[in-house]
Amino acid sequence: MRPAALHRDAVPVLAAVLAVVAAAAQWVPLPAVRVPTGLLLVFVLPGLALAAALFPGRVLSIVERLVLPPALSLAVLVLGGLGMFAAGIPLGRASWTALTTSVTVAAAVVARLRRDTAGTGSAAETAMFGRVLAVDREKMTVGAAVWRLAPLALAVLLIAGAGVLAMRSAGTGGEPFTGLSLVPSPAPDGQQQAPPQTPRTVQVAIRCEEGEATRYSLRIADPNGFERTFDVALEPGGRWSQTLEVPASGTVTADLFKNGGQAPYRSAHLAGVR
């Protein structure tokens, strides 16, 4: 057996072994393990084995051998997912793992069985716009590879730099804000709504996204003399909430003052029983 043929034969076997390992790794609670193995199961292994099973000979060009695995892997997810749904199998980690692994192993077996019957057809085709296709196979030397990998390494560095810059700048330029909310508290499960004259329960909440630590004063009042005040200090991203009882009738107003200001910075109001 020639080395190239040996190499081609090894691909489906390797895919099957990797699929089993990746399937086992799905239950390792480490992102550093789950992410790469999950990526292999989703984008590479099923398609790699399927391409080897469908095209065991030298029919495909290098480009086709690179493009088909992710394409076929994604097709397995779409069509296999529909099949699992039709069979009543819930779509989740276990079912996706089983689907991708079983397809990979089954395709690898088929590829092994078909390896001896493989043809060696070429991809020569008819002309279009005067150009004739021939399957190109370049001879790559070590020197040529280095010359081509050096710019690639530079490109990867540039991409990484641009990515870091993009991630850092994505968080800039946002307008600071504070959110104030005032809503009726939901009645506990199984409990009826309170009778009309009993105090009602409301939930008031503040969310600070001001970009700096902020002091708030919150006044909750109604026209009939009810009043409660709260002093709150929040860091950026901080939240504060309180559940309290207010009179059943009349409109309750929540006014939020920021950093000792005299005019309400935010307001909310809830009508009572009419």
Binding site: G38, V63, L91, T126, A170, E175, L180
Partner: protein
């Protein structure tokens, strides 16, 4: 790429130099790649493929860097929700009030949810990765399709590079949306058609890939499915009209398969699509009727592209027309019998026909952009082929001496410089006239009805709050971007037809009737509507004043809800106010 990353960073802080850096960043990557692809020094398939894929990576990065931390385009948010629902329920076809029709085309959600399940990544990260891989597969499939169609490495690479100048290539077709999932498989189906030669042994694998691709397209995206039927039908027709030496029936077989699968899917699973696509079609037909009746198309008063960008777009279309004319002339003169060549010519004519849609009705520009995703494939093949063969076709040395030296025999008239210049013109035109629109080439401050530019922290926080504090599936009236956010992050049922509630200066009986007829529970009010005109020309999903706004909505119209008996102001973050109108 770094230049564009700096441009985006500058855009976020309002730097004046950002726009210049953006345009320079586009050119310094794109032009040299096209030059090299058309150069006689191109070494072969490996280099051509790497250049094409490198450009695809670069272009996807430009999209990713615009919003690396979250999805911002409405359709992406809608598919974010669809994927989240699949993950929560473990089931397909679950209702999604943000984009009801998407529930019937679950291909993308299957890919995304599988990636989340198997890696533990967030839906956003998994979506960005999935869209990136799909983009690379699409470009790779286009490359190998051109190669199988007989194209040289240079032609295949140049086709990919010129296709990168499609109006929706840079952003829209790289988003986490269902069309992105279907596009690579459309290319793969065409590749399989071309590769599948039924008179030779070993055709079955191509048939398997072809049928699988047809199935994936049919269950992933409706428009792509129809484009696939049309494309395979055109190829089959051309094969029948111009039979090759050895009969090829693959296109016919796959076209018939596509018709059966797509019709079956629409009738049995996704019949909602008939109404969904029927409405814009009827609107477009009405606009066409109006134009032919002499009434002209509705004129938008919304600000358009800067004049220089319109000039570039016109020049680009003209250059494509020249290439089409030349290819047609050559085909007729040679009495061309190659079926695929005629299919490419017909497809290119279809590109110009669909480009005319942009002048038809309010939805014309969007429909033209959507159609160009498909019709630009043959157009880019034809453009690349004509450029590659440009000089030979012109028959140099037959022109009179000085004229020849200045034109066809000149160095600039070689395919590499001429083609690179032309492709650069096409690229600039696509960036100017495609997606994102000119007013959001760069990320930046909040814009009312500005799609990606409308998704800022304050709005997102308010949308999440609605789901957490009010529960899901309340009927929520909102403006264009508010409707997207409350329906996705907030899981509410959006109401986009309540514009009059916001436009009426005084609360009255008609508003009460609107509340009741549309069963509205809550109102989302963005008071910035009183400060800015809508960037996209509409404030609401259904806007009776679409494209005709000349002043912002008066502030009094938006704060009138504060004083209506029975209406509660339950959330206030300054710009966003949410009213409970169930008691009104």
């Amino acid at each position: 790429m770094l230049l564009v990353a700096f441009a985006y960073a500058g855009g976020r802080t309002g730097a004046a130099w950002a726009s210049t850096a953006y345009w320079v960043g586009q050119v310094v990557v794109y032009t040299p790649i096209v030059f090299r692809l058309l150069s006689r020094r191109l070494t072969g398939v490996t280099e051509s493929f790497l250049l094409a894929m490198g450009l695809a990576v670069n272009q996807y990065m430009l999209k990713w860097m615009f919003s690396p931390d979250q999805f911002r385009f409405p359709d992406e948010l809608q598919h974010w929700l669809s994927t989240t629902i699949v993950l929560e329920t473990g089931r397909l076809f679950q209702p999604n009030s943000a984009l009801p029709v998407a529930a019937h085309f679950p291909g993308l959600e299957e890919m995304g949810s599988a990636l989340v399940s198997l890696t533990g990544l967030s839906v956003t990260d998994a979506g960005l990765l999935t869209a990136g891989v799909l983009r690379l597969v699409f470009v790779g499939a286009l490359f190998m399709m051109v190669r199988r169609a007989g194209g040289s490495p240079s032609l295949a690479g140049a086709t990919c590079a010129i296709y990168a100048t499609a109006l929706h290539y840079l952003f829209f077709n790289a988003m986490y949306i269902y069309q992105t999932a279907a596009l690579p498989f459309l290319m793969l189906a065409i590749w399989a058609t071309r590769s599948w030669r039924s008179r030779e042994p070993g055709y079955v694998p191509y048939a398997v890939v072809g049928v699988a691709s047809v199935a994936v397209v049919a269950v992933s995206h409706h428009i792509t499915a129809m484009a696939m039927v049309g494309t395979l039908g055109l190829l089959a027709l051309c094969d029948l009209v111009f039979p090759a030496t050895h009969k090829r029936r693959s296109a016919l077989a796959l076209a018939v398969t596509a018709v059966v699968v797509v019709v079956a899917w629409v009738l049995l699973v996704a019949n909602e699509i008939i109404d969904y696509l029927g409405a814009p079609l009827q609107s477009m037909l009405a606009s066409l009727t109006q134009i032919f009746a002499g009434g002209g198309s509705k004129v938008s008063v919304a600000p358009g592209n800067p004049l220089w960008q319109l000039g570039i777009q016109a020049a680009a279309l003209l250059s494509l027309l020249v290439l089409l004319a030349r290819a047609s002339w050559v085909a007729l003169r040679k009495r061309e019998r190659d079926a695929w060549q005629w299919a490419v010519l017909v497809g290119s004519v279809a590109f110009f026909a669909t480009s005319g849609l942009r002048f038809v009705g309010a939805q014309g520009p969007e429909l033209a952009g959507r159609a160009s995703t498909f019709t630009y494939v043959p157009m880019s093949m034809l453009a690349a082929a004509t450029i590659v063969d440009w000089r030979r076709g012109l028959r140099p040395h037959t022109w009179p001496g000085p004229l020849g030296r200045l034109t066809v025999n000149a160095r600039w008239a070689r395919p590499a410089p001429l083609g690179a210049a032309m492709a650069t013109l096409l690229m600039l035109a696509a960036r100017a006239g495609g997606w994102p629109p000119y007013w959001e080439h760069l990320p930046g401050k909040y814009l009312v009805s500005g799609f990606e530019r409308s998704v800022v922290g304050e709005n997102v926080t308010a949308a999440w709050w609605t789901g957490e504090a009010l529960g899901w599936r309340n009927r929520f009236a909102a403006d264009l971007s508010g409707a997207t956010l409350v329906s996705t992050y907030g899981r509410q049922d959006p109401v986009g037809e309540a514009a009059d509630l916001y436009y009426d200066p005084v609360w009255g009986l008609r508003d009460q009737q609107i509340l009741q007829s549309l069963q509205i529970d809550y109102l989302w009010v963005d008071v910035r509507m009183s400060q800015q005109l809508p960037a996209s020309g509409v404030y609401f999903v259904v806007d009776p004043k679409a494209q005709r706004h000349v002043t912002p909505v008066p502030l009094e119209n938006l704060v009138k809800f504060d004083h209506i008996p029975g209406v509660n102001l339950v959330y206030d973050s300054g710009n966003i106010r949410i009213y409970d109108v169930r008691g009104a």
